[in-house]
């Protein structure tokens, strides 16, 4: 059974499709890389496939979904605590 999905080859995050425990080592065949998961990743949440520096773009579905608000290590949980949506929504 799948543990994660990468939606586009440009993505730098993967989405967990089951809960992944801290310190699990995953072999990500799509990018031929072993990644150690640094925090527990709940179902539906994302983890980084590489080091993402502060202000760099988070890519999912091949598009920018947000920017890192601090340095993100490979295998880290990627969510509201370290990502911001840089697009303006003036009406909100």
């Amino acid at each position: 059974m799948k543990q994660w999905m990468i939606l586009n080859q440009r993505d730098n995050v993967a989405t967990a499709v089951c809960e992944i425990k801290k310190n699990t080592v995953l072999y990500i065949q799509e990018i031929n890389k072993k990644i150690r998961i640094r925090q527990e990743i709940p179902l539906g949440h994302k983890f980084s496939l590489e080091q993402i520096s502060r202000n760099k773009e988070i890519l999912k579905y091949g598009e920018v979904i947000g920017k890192a608000t601090r340095d993100i290590k490979e295998g880290e949980h990627v969510h509201i605590h370290n990502v911001t949506d840089p697009r303006e929504h003036p009406a909100i």
Binding site: I65, D85, A91
Partner: protein, 388 residues
């Protein structure tokens, strides 16, 4: 360009192709009483249609004209009271070029509901019999098909399994020359720049951004609910489920339309002017799932594909709604209402392209006559919208 895929459909006198051969009994306003339903109970092959808005002509007329004119409908019986602003003769005039049989019964002139039901049954019986031997399915290119895509009851699986797979199927359909309509600009907030980049020209680009911006500005009660609007667009439940930004959520939703260039923006219930991918706008009032499916059929879609996470049961009297769920539990628990299990991506290690191909094949099968779960149970939800 030569297309290879075919389906088996009804070629209508005006050249449009239907995937069903219904006789539609359409009440121009609900005040006639349940005449369409009573006729449908007694006559095989009849679908009943009614709605409450007698005065909202601007929105209701295109919906009823588009519905009656849909190539899935082989013949039409309009039932009218006589006082409503939506005029039955108008509808009959506007669908005249389709050359489909069209009759009108006025409840007051016929002498009350019971006589109208009786007369309606006789008329519908003749219509059904004629269609049953005059209409024949013929092989035709997939290019003739138009499909509406919708999501309802979305959950975390929607952006991972159901929507991406349907998107693959829509790319295939458009590759074969077909048409696709996507709606709900409010769900595109966050992805407006990305979508605008896919517009075929600057005019369409501006229109896309405009309708998305306006959908946010028109959000009910927005003036007093700025914080709540933001929360409603990406809820605490969404965040708990793993969605981090509005853009991520919007992308997961628009994925269901595929990756094709966007040909144009349609008004609510506006007829499809051509092939390829279109975005349909809403009316001023936010639209329900049923109203959007109704509008897709009115615009000329023959089939709607609907993705769902937690499940949805709706059907339409006008055409098939194929239900695709990405949640394997939903497929198991609501097997009566689900057609495709995109949750196989999680449980059976299927890939998005594999399930996309499966959905595309199912669209061809349904177009050629395979009945969806909702059709077999005669779920005939129908809703016209209004902007005030």
């Amino acid at each position: 360009m030569t297309y290879t895929k075919k389906f088996s459909g009804y070629i209508r006198p005006d050249g449009k192709v239907g995937v069903r051969n219904h006789v539609a009994v359409i009440s121009t306003v609900m005040c006639t009483g349940p005449i369409p339903q009573r006729i449908a109970e007694q006559v095989d092959g009849v679908v009943p249609i009614t709605h409450p808005w007698c005065f909202a002509v601007r929105e209701t007329l295109p919906i009823l004209v588009g519905t009656a004119g849909n190539p899935n409908i082989g013949a039409v019986l309009l039932v009218t009271l006589g006082c409503e602003e939506v005029n039955a003769e108008d509808i009959a005039d506007k669908i005249a070029k389709s050359k489909k049989p069209c009759r009108i019964l006025n409840v007051r002139e016929t002498g009350g509901t019971l006589r109208t039901i009786e007369e309606g049954i006789r008329i519908a019986q003749k219509m059904v019999q004629e269609l049953s031997y005059k209409s024949k399915r013929e092989d035709i290119d997939i290019a003739a098909l138009n499909v509406g895509v919708k999501c309802g009851g979305s959950d975390g699986t929607s952006g991972l399994a159901a929507n991406p797979s349907v998107g693959v199927a829509m790319d295939k359909l458009i590759g074969e020359g077909g048409g696709v309509i996507m709606a709900e600009p409010i769900e595109m907030v966050g992805a407006e720049e990305i979508l605008a980049k896919r517009a075929i020209n600057k005019k369409v680009q501006q229109k896309i951004k405009k309708i998305i911006r306006e959908s946010l500005e028109n959000y009910p009660g927005r003036e007093s609910m700025v914080g709540v609007v933001k929360e409603k667009l990406i809820s605490p439940g969404n965040i708990k489920g793993g969605l981090t930004t509005l853009t991520e959520k919007a992308l997961g939703a628009v994925l269901k339309g595929g990756t094709s260039p966007i040909q144009g923006v349609l008004d609510y219930a506006e007829l499809l002017p051509g092939k390829g991918l279109y975005i349909m706008n809403e009316t001023g009032m936010h639209m329900t799932d049923v109203a959007i499916c109704t509008a897709f059929f009115a615009s000329g879609a023959e089939i709607v594909v609907m993705t769902t996470g937690v499940g949805t049961a709706i059907g339409s009297p006008i055409g098939p709604i194929i239900k695709v769920t990405g949640h394997p539990e939903t497929f198991r628990k609501m097997e009566d209402n689900m057609d495709i299990n995109a949750g196989a991506i999680f449980e059976e290690n299927k890939t998005i392209p594999e399930v996309g191909e499966e959905i595309f094949e199912e669209i061809i099968r349904v177009a050629s006559g395979k009945k969806t779960k909702a059709e077999i149970l005669r779920y005939y939800e129908f809703a016209a919208n209004r902007s005030f």
